[in-house]
């Protein structure tokens, strides 16, 4: 197991824009619970940044997790909570670079 960085690009799918404010808030609260559980399990949210000006996606979220398995678990719980149905995405995972040989 190694510390891992996890990078999540996202933009709303069309049906996100069809929800009213209360529906969006309820979903955001649901996904915030998933994120809180990930933090409680040792994950750290580095931050969310706006990138729409120079990317296909709107935001990038950067997390540190104790292992790639923890990153997978975070994403599996988000998708189980329906997040991927409202947001298009692309993800990356990475391990710290070993010392150059």
């Amino acid at each position: 197991m190694s510390e891992s960085i996890w990078i999540h690009y996202a933009r709303p799918r069309p049906q996100w824009y069809r929800l009213d404010a209360a529906e969006k808030s309820a979903l955001d609260a649901r996904w915030a619970e998933v994120e809180a559980a990930s933090v409680a399990a040792g994950g750290e949210r580095v931050g969310r940044y706006h990138i729409r000006g120079q990317h296909d996606f709107q935001t990038v979220d950067i997390w540190r997790f104790p292992s790639p398995e923890a990153a997978f678990d975070h994403w599996a719980r988000l998708t189980a909570a329906g997040y991927n149905e409202l947001f298009a995405f692309s993800n990356n995972v990475g391990l710290p670079l070993p010392e150059a040989s």
Partner: protein, 239 residues
């Protein structure tokens, strides 16, 4: 295992907790004669053998039928794609998968190829084509993402879609195609899933995909497909 979408008649959840696909799409650098030689070839080969001893499957064949040849294999794909070599291994865990890509790159792989690696756990078990034990020397990789139409569909609409796609998958098996189950890539890539096949011929693959078009497989997905002749990696590295 967490499934992104549910089981079907053809595909059942795999009892292979943690087994993780390591996909590689490789573009050969230009002239590498002065940076990739016999020493690097031997180092990559030794790393592959070491990974095999650590429980990796080093070919689509081994992912479908473990216990056979340990020869590392890949698809010779340059005739149809910008990728010169493509393929899939299967590692014992997510962490082992990522670390293995770094070990291979460091052994010399990075000197020969610019590689897009994709990594993700097995969801569904392998399924055999109907033709029994016969040569299946052509490989096929399918990558797909569930599109906005799928995301907006109701559970009933998705279940009806899965049933229609199962008709096409049964057609694939009837064309003597072996399917290495399904793997989930979405946690670390833009593609959501991998399907890897071994087929008797390119014609079988083309007929199979025509069957998938007939059941409107692609109404809910955006896909990329890679086809290639299965060959030992040591031969592809020796070019």
């Amino acid at each position: 295992m967490t499934l992104l979408t549910g089981e079907t008649d053809v595909f059942s959840s795999a009892g292979t907790a943690g087994r993780t696909a390591v996909v590689f799409l490789c573009r050969r650098h230009g002239d590498t004669a002065d940076i990739f030689g016999e020493a690097e070839r031997r180092a990559v080969d030794a790393t592959l053998r070491q990974l095999g001893e650590e429980g990796w499957h080093l070919s689509i064949r081994a992912m479908i039928d473990p216990g056979g040849s340990a020869e590392a294999e890949a698809l010779d794909a340059g005739f149809a794609h910008p990728y010169d070599m493509a393929g899939v291994f299967e590692a014992p865990s997510l962490s082992a998968a990522i670390e293995g890509t770094i070990r291979l790159e460091r052994a010399g792989w990075e000197r020969l190829f610019a590689t897009e690696w994709m990594i993700g756990p097995r969801e569904f078990a392998a399924v055999h084509g109907t033709g029994g034990d016969r040569p299946r020397d052509w490989g096929f990789l399918a990558f797909w993402e569930w599109n906005d139409n799928w995301a907006a569909a109701t559970p009933d609409e998705r279940a009806a879609y899965d049933a229609e796609c199962d008709i096409a998958f049964k057609g694939d098996l009837a064309l003597d195609i072996d399917i290495a189950g399904r793997h989930r890539l979405d946690w670390a890539h833009g593609w959501h899933h991998l399907g890897a096949w071994l087929a008797p011929s390119p014609e079988a693959i083309d007929t199979a995909i025509t069957g998938h078009e007939a059941v409107a497989d692609f109404v809910f997905t955006t896909s990329r497909h890679v086809i290639g002749r299965v060959r030992p990696i040591r031969e592809l590295l020796a070019r």
